[in-house]
């Protein structure tokens, strides 16, 4: 058997739990990780038995005592309450010893006292149950947390070859959903059977003590129940599965018949098909009939046992009472105790069934997460040690399997600072070489080393931080651009926080064998550039050609001028310069300025009515739909116009929604439509006439109208006469409610920064013409070129880094994603930079320019020791490298080193 997980504490104090292999047997797994808790709960269960036993005993005392005066005749004097006596045990020869003489009580007080005692016992029993259930739940949750964590931990160590075969969605449902029932069961694994068994045995023991014969009857009936019923149930489950399979096959056949209806007719095969259907229906009927028989037989048996037992008790117990061997209180107590016996037994049977189910499921999950060549976890140093020395590949063979080696017996040595390009006739060969250097695949034979360190056994921290790899089609988790850039720099915070041990979260994480480091700590503290990170980011963005992209994103962000007064000032200064420049130099109508006396055609009707910027588009709509604002709009005579425009928009939108069909993702970028509103639109009904008559409908129509931007939406709903009317309404609104509007929105003032507007709108103090081809790119270029002196461009680019890159980085273009991967790799200042056809998506010229820039930078003081190994597709790029290795037919065919330039 393998050793239980050892929480290897590294020097820096946080525990990094590791596990060699996973236990396949569920019960052993549970025991490994929760034996202490299981024993504790068992003790609690045992401690709960005496009170449970007493609560069975009391009714007997009540009936025999105060109620029927069988065991005590109050005429002779008061009864003794709470008398504790150890009875005489004949075969030991001891005599009865009274420990506590009790309290003397008359009949009624005695009844009350006994009932009060029963109440107390019921409470204590309930309390035990409450505690045990809570504890079990907690235990289950902890184990579930541990299990999920372990599964993810193992996934992160899977060999690449195994990862390729897995379906991400399947793994994710396994980790997320399929382990869920295990959690519920883990708490129950030991405690429940113990608890139920204790309960059943207590009840049984109580019965035995009252009367050995009645006890024996109960025992026999229980044995029948536990022996036969589970077996019958198993049959039920099997029949259920058969039914499911037969039903599925039947459904498939019906589908076939429907699809082949024409063929059946032209072949006159209806009778043949009917015969087949009849046969299948017969099979299903047979299974169902057997299912019913089994199901109701179990019911019958259960009912019989439940009802025959009291009958037997009346018979045997009554006989004993009549003969004087048993008193009436005992009989009542026996029947009460028997009533308590079946529930635990039934639950035990349920538990057993669940056990079989869960054990199989657990073993299946563990098998899925235990690939044959799973690497063992390795000790990690607190700080990655630079990988000095040459890259040495010795007699290495690469491939998926030994029979399909794509690269054989390769031997190569490269000193540090090398610039190696790898070309190959079979792209897979150079790809595998690159992947081996990035530690993604181990060689089938031979060695890949850096310095004297074998890469196949190198730890993840050193490997991940000192070697950088950029492959094709890099995937990004959803995050901000900045987080994506810093992904490779994050390093487990070194400072141990002893006080954190008291912290509830940390303590819980440790109990569940999870990593105790919080993602909220400063993971960048260890980076040598931590102080000047922004400068370094800007530098790398420029080097990898992403600066302009970041800048472009920055133009769309909103900043708070209170916290960034310097940037806001520069932006306001830029306005005048830019306007002058555009007027003088650009012979095109690129920008429409904000002007209180003119309608801004490039902006929405809402923005025109309010004439101020809002953090969200809907804020303006909400304000304009309030009653006071509506009154002004009505007085200005534009309310009906809004409804008319809204109706025009709605008619188009309804058409679009119809055309998009069920899957409406294509509509998510339709600016007029908020997808969350589709339900509300559906509720308003299909005819626009009905919308106009309801308050909700009118409000919806107005919303549509308020979002309308003529050059963008192109529905031809807004002519200049109408624009003038909206302009008049703007002035009326400002007149009537200026203070409110100024408080809610930021009014456009030529001398002030407008907080709600984007940086670009602020620089332009206007809107880019939507129809101007590449208008935005041209504006961006002008700002970058002309306004460099104002020192705001870097700040804007940095602001752009807070943009969300979308799921999988999909808000970025493929070329941007690949450049981003390179930027991320360079930020690490790696000892070895491995490229695996990362830039095929760029044009050849762009790739050449990018690589030339990067290689030149590596030669400079920044990262002098870095070795570059690049598997590339374009042979024309060879002159950029000192050494070119050519692979052909799976072996090294040429190894050429350029004469070093000097």
């Amino acid at each position: 058997m393998q050793k239980a997980s050892s929480a290897a504490s590294s020097k820096d104090g946080h525990s990094r739990p590791q596990e060699a292999g996973m236990e396949r047997r569920l019960f052993r797994y549970i025991w490994q990780h929760s034996s202490r808790e299981q024993i504790f709960i068992a003790l609690i269960v045992i401690a709960s038995i005496p009170t449970y036993f007493l609560s069975l005993q009391l009714p007997k005392l009540i009936i025999n005592g105060p109620i029927s005066e069988v065991s005590h005749d109050y005429a002779d004097g008061p009864a003794r309450f709470l008398e504790i006596t150890i009875p005489a045990i004949g075969w030991l020869g001891t005599e009865a010893v009274t420990l506590f003489n009790g309290v003397a009580l008359a009949q009624i007080p005695h009844l009350v006292a006994l009932c009060a005692a029963l109440f107390v016992l019921v409470c204590i029993n309930g309390g035990f149950k409450y505690f045990i259930n809570t504890f079990k739940g907690q235990l289950g949750e902890r184990m579930l947390r541990r299990l999920r964590y372990q599964l993810i931990d193992r996934t992160l160590r899977f060999p690449q070859s195994y990862l390729r075969r897995l379906k991400p969605a399947e793994v994710s449902t396994m980790v997320n959903n399929e382990v869920e029932p295990l959690g519920g069961f883990i708490g129950d694994a030991y405690a429940t059977p113990l608890f139920l068994l204790a309960q059943a045995l207590t009840a049984l023991a109580f019965l035995m003590l009252q009367n050995i014969w009645l006890g024996s009857i109960a025992l026999v009936l229980v044995l029948i129940q536990t022996g036969i019923i589970p077996r019958l149930r198993r049959r039920l489950v099997m029949l259920g599965k058969m039914r499911q399979i037969a039903a599925r096959a039947f459904a498939g056949r019906v589908g076939e018949i429907m699809e082949g209806a024409r063929e059946i007719r032209v072949n006159g095969a209806a009778d043949w098909e009917k015969a087949d259907i009849s046969d299948r229906l017969g099979t299903i009927y047979g299974i169902r009939f057997r299912l019913y028989r089994a199901k109701f037989f179990i019911k019958f048996l259960n009912n019989l046992l439940a009802q025959v037992t009291p009958m037997l008790f009346y018979l045997a117990g009554g006989y004993a009472v009549i003969r004087g061997d048993l008193d009436i209180g005992q009989l009542v107590a026996v029947i009460a105790a028997y009533r308590d016996l079946p529930p635990p037994i039934k639950e035990l049977i349920n538990w057993d069934q669940q056990r079989v189910d869960v054990q199989v499921k657990y073993a299946m999950i563990v098998d899925q997460f235990s690939p044959p060549d799973m690497p063992a976890p390795r000790d990690v140093p607190a700080v990655p040690v630079p990988l000095g020395g040459s890259v040495t590949i010795t007699n290495a063979t690469f491939g998926e399997t030994a029979d399909e080696a794509v690269l054989r017996d390769l031997t190569l040595t490269q000193k540090p600072r090398g610039r190696v390009m790898v070309l190959s006739d079979n792209p897979r060969a150079s790809e595998m070489l690159a992947e081996a250097l990035a530690r993604l695949v181990p060689p089938l034979r031979g060695k890949v080393e850096v310095g004297s360190r074998d890469l196949t056994v190198l730890d993840d921290i050193t490997g991940g931080k000192r070697i950088a790899y950029v492959g094709p089609g890099v995937y990004y988790a959803r995050s901000t651009l900045r987080d994506a850039l810093l992904y490779g720099l994050r390093h487990p915070p070194a400072e141990a926080i002893p006080a954190a041990d008291d912290d509830f979260d940390v303590a819980e994480a440790r109990r569940s064998g999870n990593l105790t480091l919080s993602p909220r700590l400063d993971w960048l503290a260890a980076d040598p550039d931590a102080e000047t990170l922004d400068d370094r980011l800007l530098d790398i963005l420029r080097l990898t050609g992403l600066y302009e992209d970041a800048f472009e994103l920055g133009l769309s962000t909103r900043i708070d001028p209170e916290t960034r007064p310097d940037l806001a000032n520069s932006v306001v200064q830029a306005r005048a310069v830019l306007r002058f420049w555009i007027e003088e130099q650009v012979h095109d109508d690129l920008v429409e300025p904000f002007d209180e006396t003119r309608y801004t055609t490039e902006d929405s009707i809402a923005a025109n009515l309010v004439f101020g910027a809002a953090q969200t588009e809907s804020a303006r709509e909400d304000f304009l739909l309030t009653l006071p604002a509506q009154n002004v709009l009505r007085a200005s005579g534009v309310a009906d116009a809004l409804i008319d425009i809204g109706a025009g928009v709605a008619a188009t939108l309804l058409e679009l929604i119809g055309a998009a069909g069920e899957d409406d993702t294509i509509l998510r970028d339709v600016p007029l439509l908020d997808l969350s509103e589709t339900d509300a639109i559906a509720a308003l009904g299909p005819t626009l006439a009905s919308w106009r008559n309801t308050a909700d409908g009118q409000a919806m129509l107005m919303r549509f109208a308020l979002r309308y931007v003529e050059p963008r939406d192109r529905l031809g709903l807004l002519d200049t006469a109408m624009q003038d009317r909206f302009l008049a309404a703007r002035h009326a609104l400002l007149e009537a409610r200026r203070e409110e509007i100024a408080a809610l929105f930021s009014l456009y003032e030529i001398d002030d920064y407008t907080p709600g507007a984007t940086i670009l709108d602020n620089i332009l103090f206007g809107k880019v013409r939507i129809e101007a081809a590449n208008g935005r790119q041209r504006i961006r270029k002008i700002i970058l070129d002309m306004l460099d002196g104002l020192e705001m461009n870097d700040a804007i680019a940095l602001a752009g880094l807070s943009t969300d890159i979308g799921n999988g980085g999909r808000s970025l273009s493929e070329a941007q994603r690949q450049r981003l991967a390179l930027a991320r790799a360079l930020l690490k200042r790696p000892d070895i930079l491995v490229l695996n056809r990362p830039f095929d998506v760029l044009g050849e010229d762009a790739e050449r320019a990018l690589l030339a820039d990067v290689l030149a930078r590596l030669d400079a003081a920044d990262m002098p020791e870095t070795t570059v190994v690049a598997a590339l597709s374009r042979p024309a790029l060879a002159p950029l490298f000192q050494r070119v290795v050519t692979l052909k037919d799976g072996i090294l065919s040429e190894d050429r080193t350029a004469p070093s330039p000097s």
Binding site: L656, G658, I666, R712, R714, L715, G716, E771, R810, V841
Partner: protein
């Protein structure tokens, strides 16, 4: 400025869109945007992968020695193969065009099989005729 209706009519004239239902054409017209070029503007630089499909609406664009007028479609080949443009496309006169961003175009292809089929037929025909 052209309205959505004109755009729908334009799409109907074009081979790869002609077989689609009018409401779907309207949807395409809507997700597209309308752009204008001044004579001499660079429309698509050489060496760059097209980031959108352009459909000429009015005016003339020029690439290498080909002149493209109303109804000409630029970009699908470059987008689907991720190959950079060999020649620059410039506006020979003031021009307007319909622009469908790359991601949108890919989404449309995924959503409307008839568009996919029409595009495939168009590519195949051009291959058979021997023009790129």
């Amino acid at each position: 400025m052209s309205s959505l209706k004109d755009t729908g009519a334009l799409l109907q004239e074009i081979g790869i869109f002609a077989s689609m239902e009018p409401t779907r054409l309207k949807l395409i017209a809507y997700v597209a945007s309308s752009v204008r070029f001044r004579a001499g503007d660079s429309v698509l630089a050489a060496g760059q992968v097209a980031d959108a499909v352009l459909i000429v609406e009015s005016g003339t664009l020029e690439r290498h020695d080909a002149r493209m007028e109303r109804g000409a479609v630029i970009g699908p080949v470059g987008i689907l193969s991720s190959t950079p443009e060999r020649y620059e496309t410039v506006a020979a006169t003031d021009a307007t065009a319909l622009r469908i961003a790359r991601a949108k175009f890919e989404e449309l292809l995924e959503k409307f099989p008839e568009l996919r089929a029409a595009l495939l037929r168009d590519f195949a025909l051009r291959l058979a005729r021997g023009d790129g």
